[in-house]
């Protein structure tokens, strides 16, 4: 029994912290739970949440994706360049953007799986590559997002918070993937790669699929960001690389692979997003935002590491 509780300590701890932040937030902004605030906040948080989901998938295999930001920009660029007015135009552009980011992710995965290069190096080199491709697709900030979509997304669509819905759908999709053989193999490869291989798991295929899925969620994040801001910017993705790592780490995802839960990543993203917004309300300069991020990261990980060390060493 204690085993199960221990398994959920991360999630419980994050939930408790999140509750405190939410209560404080509610005090400062009583409209927190109104549909319009939820829509605005979820639109604001969606890119980070989905980027962190993507980073989590890669980290579960024991890797890390330093090209996440550039791939996010790439998805955004392809979307804003191809998006035409009307539902079909938008959907076609989304499909194309996702196809491109999935291909980029799978290419990263193929290099990791076949080249014998550590993921950090592959994705570092790939970050130059995808930044370049993005600049070719969209050299200057600009592009086009249908205005109707932008307002429906940011202001609500018949009272539905579209970004929140998108996050829920994306997480449900992941939950489904997680329960397939691939989902279990992903954890197996991250936890003990050689063992997984010796047990007959096609570790290369698992890695390529994992990076491909990461590309999918990164692409969704890019599209979300494009719709939120109403245009494209080839350099906007850059900070998401490190921010997504920070959120995943905050959620307890291990750098060594095989350990961590997606719901903890989600909580980590919400926590960081809400804390940042809280700063605005408390009137502290936004300059402190970065310091807050850094301190939260160190404190969260240190508490976790020291707590586990007491038990083992």
């Amino acid at each position: 029994m204690s085993e199960r509780i221990r398994n959920h300590m991360d999630v419980l701890g994050l939930c408790a912290l999140l509750a405190v932040v939410l209560v404080t937030y509610q005090r400062l902004d009583p409209t927190l739970l109104s549909p319009s605030t939820i829509t605005i906040l979820s639109a604001q948080f969606l890119p980070l949440i989905l980027a962190a989901v993507a980073q989590t998938i890669v980290m579960l295999t024991g890797g890390v994706d330093l090209s996440l930001g550039p791939v996010l920009s790439l998805g955004m660029a392809v979307f804003v360049v191809t998006a035409a007015d009307g539902a079909t135009g938008v959907l076609a552009a989304m499909a194309l953007a996702l196809a491109v980011t999935v291909a980029a992710g799978a290419a990263n995965g193929a290099l990791v799986a076949y080249a014998g290069l550590p993921p950090i190096i592959v994705t570092l080199a790939a970050s130059f590559l995808w930044t370049g491709v993005t600049l070719i697709v969209l050299p200057q900030p600009g592009g086009h997002v249908p205005a109707g979509l932008v307002s429906a997304y940011n202001l609500g669509w018949y009272g539905i918070a579209l970004p929140a819905l998108a996050v829920v759908v994306a997480l449900a999709l992941w939950k489904l993937v997680r329960t397939t053989r691939f989902g279990l193999a992903l954890y197996a490869v991250g936890g003990n790669e050689h063992g997984a291989y010796a047990s007959g798991i096609d570790t290369r295929r698992v890695k390529i699929l994992a990076y491909g899925f990461a590309g999918l969620f990164t692409g969704l994040a890019g599209i979300g960001l494009a719709i939120q801001t109403g245009s494209g910017d080839p350099n906007i993705g850059a900070p998401y690389t490190l921010n997504s790592i920070a959120v995943a780490v905050l959620g307890g995802i291990s750098f060594f692979g095989g350990v961590g839960r997606m719901r903890a990543t989600l909580l980590g993203a919400l926590l960081l997003g809400l804390l940042t917004n809280l700063l605005l309300f408390t009137g502290i300069s936004t300059f402190y935002q970065l310091i807050l991020q850094g301190v939260v990261l160190v404190v969260a990980v240190a508490v976790k590491t020291l707590a586990t060390r007491e038990r083992t060493a």
Partner: protein, 508 residues
């Protein structure tokens, strides 16, 4: 009629022949023992069968079909599909997933494309009870003791209802009860007409289960014998190429007459959750053993004395209290430690023999007055001396330690402490997984070190080793010392008895 046949197989790594013209076969309903010293090529042969490696020449046939031919290469995946399952000394479990998930690792049963945990648990239960393991299938595998993990590995191998089961040193971490459970499974398989290939360094086990034995030496098959047609001495002679009569060196000469002052006195040592109330006197010139069943806290006593585990209790060195909170403090006070896990803790296996041997004595090789620049010449002299005196077989001091055989690796792990002039040497399982010839050399080295005035403390799961090597053995049970055997009392029977009596006493 054969199930598996290995025919004239050869294999080289980087120009070094590790297998030469190896042939043997396994019949249905038969248990074949594969024996040989470390580096004889057993693991390589098994890797060819399980698809981890491909041979340079020769063929492997399973069920009459050549496995290393055709468009698709032989792989662990295909081997498993064909009905070959294996359990290795090195675990292939994922410590972070549940026992149930591990049992079906890579072959999870699905319904509608999805894996249902209830199914996994329900199907894992009978397999776990078959290998005699009573654990919650939802426990994380990494939380189980090593022996239990090994049994999970066996349960995993049984999932596909294999026709050939390979046990590669699969019993090394098991206690007697667990070994019996494994043999029960082997007997069941044999009765059902399935085949088993077993590799073990424990001769007793080998004779208990094998129908035939194939002996490998230096990458070649030297003999295959029916069990009835051979015995222990015959096999050792085949493996080593000569008889080993003086396995153990003579013990220290009647130290009881002149009791030397202990260099290290331990009183009431306790490591939370592992051991408590441990009293030990480590005396120069004596080899003291810590015996008992596996995992009774022996390992933690050693780790505490080397500053790797937090502990409480009184530790005196030369009669003065001393603190051993970190390995550095322990080393400064003249303690050396050869851990059980030599590949992760005992050695830097990716580094050269030279770098490994000089690491603990860099302070002397690079003193502050030379601005801590390491003197290459002194280092070379030190390393050459150690390689020579310990008879470490390496192509050069620059050779990476991972390229050495297990026995030579262990010699490096031991030799690196000698230049620090330790007064106390702690060794955990000093000969685990090491061939007979090197074992003998290590026993003699340890005795020489003791004779030169060192106090030696050894843990071992091998009863014969403790009896043959030690002057005194303290028997541990559930974290306490329950008996001490000295002189004539120190026999295998007494030692085994004491381990079990401890069991009875605490279970009253």
């Amino acid at each position: 009629m054969t199930l598996l046949s290995v025919e004239n197989v050869s294999k080289s790594f980087a120009g070094v022949r590790v297998l030469r013209d190896v042939s043997f076969d396994v019949r249905p309903g038969e248990v074949l023992g594969l024996v040989g010293e470390n580096g004889a090529g057993k693991s390589t042969v098994l890797s060819l069968i399980t698809g981890l490696l491909a041979p340079d020449a020769g063929t492997v046939r399973f069920d009459g079909a050549r496995v290393h031919s055709g468009i698709r290469a032989w792989s662990p995946h295909r081997a498993r599909a064909a009905g070959i399952a294996s359990v290795h000394q090195e675990l292939s479990l994922n410590p972070h997933q549940s026992v149930a998930e591990n049992v079906f690792l890579g072959a999870w049963p699905t319904r509608g494309g999805l894996v249902r945990h209830r199914d996994l648990v329900a199907r894992a239960r009978p397999l776990l009870s078959r290998v005699g393991l009573d654990v919650d299938p939802l426990t994380r595998a990494g939380r189980l003791p090593l022996g239990a993990q090994q049994l999970v590995e066996l349960a995993k191998a049984l999932t596909g209802d294999p026709r050939l089961l390979i046990l590669d040193e699969a019993t090394s971490a098991l206690d007697d009860d667990q070994v019996r459970a494994v043999f029960r499974v082997v007997d069941e398989l044999r009765a059902a007409g399935k085949s088993v290939v077993i590799v073990t360094h424990r001769m007793g086990e080998l004779f208990a289960v094998s129908d035939r034995m194939t002996v490998l030496k230096d990458g070649e098959v030297v003999a295959t014998r029916e069990r009835a047609a051979t015995d222990h001495d015959d096999l050792v002679k085949l493996m080593v190429g000569r008889e080993l009569s003086d396995m153990f060196p003579p013990k220290s000469k009647d130290t009881a007459a002149v009791p030397a002052e202990p260099v290290l006195t331990v009183r009431g040592l306790a490591v939370p959750g592992s051991c408590a109330g441990i009293d030990l006197d480590l005396v120069p010139g004596r080899v003291i053993g810590l015996g008992g069943l596996q995992g009774q806290g022996q390992r933690e006593v050693l780790r505490a004395l080397f500053g790797l585990r937090r502990h409480s209790g009184q530790i005196d060195m030369d009669g003065r209290p001393c603190r051993l909170a970190t390995p550095r403090e322990a080393i400064r006070r003249g303690i050396g430690y050869v851990p059980e896990d030599r590949k992760t803790e005992g050695l830097h296996i990716a580094h050269s023999v030279r770098a490994n041997l000089s690491l603990p004595s860099l302070r002397a090789l690079a003193p502050a007055r030379s601005l801590t620049t390491v003197s290459r010449r002194q280092e070379a002299r030190l390393v050459a001396g150690l390689v020579d005196s310990m008879r470490i077989k390496a192509s050069s001091p620059a050779q990476e330690v991972r390229r050495l055989s297990g026995g030579n690796q262990q010699k490096v792990a031991l030799a690196k402490w000698l230049p620090t002039k330790p007064r106390v040497l702690l060794l955990a399982e000093p000969t685990r997984g090491i061939d007979v010839g090197t074992k003998r050399q290590i026993y003699h080295h340890l005795r020489e070190l003791a004779d030169s005035g060192m106090a030696v403390l050894v843990t071992s799961g091998d009863t014969m080793e403790l009896v043959g090597l030690c002057d005194e053995v303290a028997v541990m049970y559930e974290g306490s010392i329950v008996d001490r055997l000295v002189g004539a009392e120190l026999t295998e029977e007494r030692l085994v008895h004491a381990s079990v009596v401890g069991q009875e006493v605490t279970h009253v």
